[in-house]
Amino acid sequence: MANSPPAGKQGVFSRISALAPFRTWLMLAAVVGGIAGLGLFTFVYAQGASYLSNDPASCVNCHVMRDQFDAWNHGSHKAVATCNDCHTPHTSLVAKYAVKGLNGFRHSAAFTLGNFPQAIQITSLNRRVAQSSCLHCHEAITAQMNHSASNEPTDCLLCHSDVGHAN
């Protein structure tokens, strides 16, 4: 529709993931992400392994994450949520490391090749991850908002896209 909020960049993985339910592909991706990702020089050298840690400082191993880090550091969620609280799934450990592996691999590769845009855009997959992580912490307060039987939870990011790190 003409009036849909930004849905995130359609990356290769997002497009693949659209073919299967969110959870199914997350498991599958664990294998792909783990093997392909960890094996590569770029991943190691470019400190893609930072994705495996929960320390926000490890994200800034890549200077291109500096803006988000700085903003997070001054933001409302610094005391309560680290990067991975929002950028990895909470559904299961497998899913969590699957996403970490995938992102780690893809971003390391992008970083090494330098073929990423000046203003980095979140992928639609990672946008969904972030969205579902809001509910992980804020389910109680939003319980009434999600009255809809249509299985279409409110898009938190339409109004709160700045909570993690205002740009």
Partner: protein
């Protein structure tokens, strides 16, 4: 989705009564949703005052005197007030001179009474619309109700008004597949839209076949050969536009960015441990913090100033357009007095109509330009052009108009 499932228990926090499918009384729904009911009832407040909107039902004809002449010969020139909260929607209709001085069809009740869907089911669509309002009115008991927008069992948003369904279907939009965010606009678009009563049947219709912008709507009415009334002074076949909030909104940036009516007019508010939609539908200007600041981080004064700037520019152009329209009317009258024929005057009258309906599209849109600032100004620029062209056409046909307003070149 697990999260929504889990939440289901909480979404109907108090399940004190079963709500019958035909329940219209908000206080009954309110037993299950006391917080929603409380905010809903606040639409009784008629004291909110903003520069151009608000809920004080001031006399618009008095404040903008040109309207009396612009609508000459039509009931609007007798009685038209600033609208107020939903609480009054039936009262205000029953009390207006526009119902009392003129014989109106039942179609009027579509948007002013929660009884409309029931009566339509009972009487049939055409019959409902075309029964005189005065006959129908004994059956209108409830103005606004939760039932207008909600399914009583699931509390999901729903569309209850056939005119909107018909118009959208004709435009190829399947309302069944509307997203939740779209529904947050569509429930309002059942009523906050331009409409007309189909000449023969009086069936409530939205003029959207060619599109939602004013040029499309003008073209549609012209092709249909439709007119709302004949102008008392100029004899032009006129169109009256009413509250095209939805149409105007769709040409603006908020709509294009996925924002819905409810986001600004029913923003979330924290009530104890939960966030609920504020059902006190009103001007966001008295609620900037919740209505704007989650998306815009500027301070309240700066956001208010944005609205003021947009509205002041629009209001300035509205007044300029009114001057031009009055000059056009004067010139056509003078030409008529000088003996110009209908054939000679046809062009001037067409231009008068086209100018007037554009002015009305902005003037009757209740945000004074805010819902789509550039488009509002663009439309008024065209309206001014057409009014001045009407005046030119008419002056060429002779007659001395008493107009002086154009002769003053000083700023």
């Amino acid at each position: 989705n697990i999260t929504t499932r889990k939440a289901e228990g909480e979404q109907y926090p108090l399940h004190i009564v079963e709500i019958a499918d035909d329940e219209l009384d908000p206080s009954v729904w309110g037993k299950n949703f006391p917080r929603h009911y409380d905010s809903f009832m606040k639409t009784q407040d008629s004291t909110i005052s903003t520069p151009f909107g608000g809920s004080v039902p001031f006399d618009r004809l008095e404040r903008f005197p040109a309207m009396t002449r612009i609508w000459a010969g039509y009931a609007f020139s007798k009685d038209h007030n600033e609208e107020r909260g939903h609480y009054y929607m039936l009262t205000d209709q029953l009390e207006t001179q526009r119902i009392q001085l003129v014989e109106q069809p039942g179609a009027c009740a579509n948007c002013h009474s929660a009884d409309a869907p029931r009566l339509i089911a009972e009487m049939g669509w055409e019959e409902f619309n075309h029964t005189p309002y005065n006959e129908l009115k004994a059956d209108l008991h409830q103005g606004t109700s939760c039932a207008d927008c909600h399914d009583p069992q699931t509390m999901e948003l729903r569309i209850t008004r056939p005119a909107f369904i018909n118009a959208m279907t004709q435009r190829g939009v399947d309302l069944e597949t509307a997203t939740r965010q779209e529904m947050r606009t569509y429930v309002c678009a059942q009523c906050h839209v331009e409409y007309y009563f189909e000449s023969e049947t009086k069936v409530l219709t939205f003029p959207w076949e060619k599109g939602l912008n004013i040029d499309d709507i003008d073209e549609y009415y012209t092709e249909e050969g439709f007119k709302d009334w004949v102008h008392k002074e100029t004899n032009a076949p006129m169109i009256k536009i009413q509250h095209p909030e939805f149409e105007m909104f769709t040409s603006g940036l908020h709509y294009k960015s996925g924002v819905a009516c409810a986001d600004c007019h029913m923003p979330y508010m924290s009530e104890g441990a939960v966030k609920i939609s504020d059902h006190w539908l009103r001007s966001p200007m008295v609620n900037i913090n919740a209505a704007c600041q989650t998306c815009h981080r500027q301070d309240e004064a700066a956001l208010l100033e944005r609205i003021n700037t947009i509205q002041d520019r629009t209001a300035g152009l509205l007044r300029t357009t009114e001057d031009a329209l009055i000059d056009a009317i004067d010139a056509i009258v003078a030409a008529q007095n000088a003996g110009a024929t209908d054939e000679q005057l046809a062009n001037a009258r067409q231009l008068h109509r086209r100018s007037s309906l554009r002015w009305d599209f902005v003037s009757s849109e209740n945000s004074t330009g805010f819902h789509s600032p550039q488009e509002s100004a663009r439309i008024l620029a065209d309206a001014i052009n057409f009014a001045r062209q009407a005046q030119l056409e008419a002056e060429r046909l002779g007659g001395t108009s008493t107009t002086v307003s154009t002769t003053n070149a000083a700023p």
